[in-house]
Assembly symmetry: C2
Homo-oligomer: 376 residues x 2
Amino acid sequence: MQFHLDHTDAGTDARAGRIVTDHGVIETPTFMPVGTLGSVKAVEPRELHRDIDADIILGNTYHLFLRPGTDVLESAGGLHRFINWDGPILTDSGGFQVFSLGHRAELSEEGVEFQNHIDGDKHLFTPESVVDMQRSIGSDIMMVLDECPAADVSKEYARTSNELTLRWAERCKTRFEETEPHYGHEQALFAIVQGVVYPDVRRESARELVDMDFPGYAIGGLSVGETHTEMYDMVEAVTPLLPEDKPRYLMGVGTPENLLENVARGIDTFDCVMPTRNARNGTIFTTRGRMNIKNAQFEKDHTPIDPGLDNPVSQNFSRAYLRHLHKTGEILGLQLASIQNLAFYLWLMKTAREKIIAGHFDSWKADILPEINHRW
Amino acid sequence: MQFHLDHTDAGTDARAGRIVTDHGVIETPTFMPVGTLGSVKAVEPRELHRDIDADIILGNTYHLFLRPGTDVLESAGGLHRFINWDGPILTDSGGFQVFSLGHRAELSEEGVEFQNHIDGDKHLFTPESVVDMQRSIGSDIMMVLDECPAADVSKEYARTSNELTLRWAERCKTRFEETEPHYGHEQALFAIVQGVVYPDVRRESARELVDMDFPGYAIGGLSVGETHTEMYDMVEAVTPLLPEDKPRYLMGVGTPENLLENVARGIDTFDCVMPTRNARNGTIFTTRGRMNIKNAQFEKDHTPIDPGLDNPVSQNFSRAYLRHLHKTGEILGLQLASIQNLAFYLWLMKTAREKIIAGHFDSWKADILPEINHRW
């Protein structure tokens, strides 16, 4: 994996770059659609390519470990082949899901033991085992195992937790270096900066991880209940310490505004379930703002879902039809809304990239935020 | 609307024909995917064209009348524009749904009064109102209002019911001739032969309707609980009485075997929810037989869903992946299975057409029935 920094904005810390993987080039800033169980919900791989223009998607190691299991993925020749997606894939380490979905998670130096949320079976995830699992998955970008504390833990807890996460990062790196990819394509291992909402713990985490020399850095443990200001403050505390020539990934974030504000603070990649989850609830993100498609005002609105996006779904289906599909519970409503929302997120990041390169990012951001924040 | 009879089989009553509408040509025999509420469940219109190769889809007047309502469809410029489907559409009259889904249906000479299944509101459907509704929908092929008795009613009831259905057919035809299409394209009104499982009532129905001179004839009231032998007997009783130069539509039928057996008896078009409903339950129709995709045998079966079909869904996704999607309840599983099942149904009808034209229909049918009936 290589990272090329194409342009740095003059007025902000925004960057335009390219992450080069064996499965293709990821132009940054970008958004990674979430494919938890090996499927971006209600969206086909060809639609990710053609309508949404996604460069990379995300899978969840915790979920894939449980279903279909790494033995099935190994027998398929890896996740790419299993799900019929030939672009890059990033997987998380499972840490976040163990703490949020697993039951009775018991933390030790060795790793974390938990009962899964499907049938209650017990498992132990260690820094070594999550690297092994991600070797079996074959993701282009792998993540280290981390502890994800809640937003309201004490500073003391944050510091102790962070120290464990740093030791786990070192062990992940060792295991990564001792092992080989299974399917012939290169894999990279990214570190995760933790530290809850305490800037000095965040900085300590970043410094230590940078010393370990990873090819990319994520900021984790945000978007878990803290305020937006706290989130932006943590990103501002961390990004100046991260190497310029490595990609930066803000995990689990966020709203369209969150994305733009964090791009301005030097973040390159994002992931979040918001566009697909909200799609299924009838909340439609568009270049003109956020629509609750079930509202009566759309009953006879036969204009396209989003004239501002040039894919056939946004252009060829009407708001009235999308409303009808959502009101009647038709599956097609979930499909069209998911494509629209992801296409919007990707458009937002691609346009941000263009504006960064053209030198107009800051003024464009100021102009577009009221438009995309508009609710109707 | 025109019908061209291209070929009649020597060994059976199978026919190859073409129905020409203002929205395109329908090559017969064919299967019409069911789009109850203006959406073929879990399938996009472009997929109907490209992957499934459907010539025509079906909508349900009863459902469209309730949601979104004919005023919304009128404001959109008809159902084709509302749902972004530029091919032909057939709508039923609502009769079948009133009797199967409506509550407290009260039959009179005037029509049928019922409470709808959504909010219990009362409505009256008359021969005239269902023609008016289908004018608002703008379907290329409209159906007359009919009473659909259960399979086990007495012959006396069947005869009385049939007489009412014949009077309603006459009234539908009169209303049709008094009114004009709303959207500039031609609409045709088909009659429906009823008569339960009584051959002489069926024949009486067919003779009377043929005297009224409709441009096409459906056989209704089958696939409602009678045996397959009874179904085939009814079709055999009726088709010899129907004009050769008019299309014949067997409503609500059926399994792949039912389709081939009825093609052999001179039927041109079919519709049924089976391929899409079964897809959502994990039953996959393929050129090699019917698979319960949740079975353990498919856990590591990384061969394509159906190597015998040449669309990208059947070819590029594996049985193991489809199983995983169904086991985990992913929406994509419903999408891929629905495309596969409809693509199979359309392939079966297109291949039947080729074999009829080539003069090998009967031997091909004998060869393929054991293959497609195989269960695994």
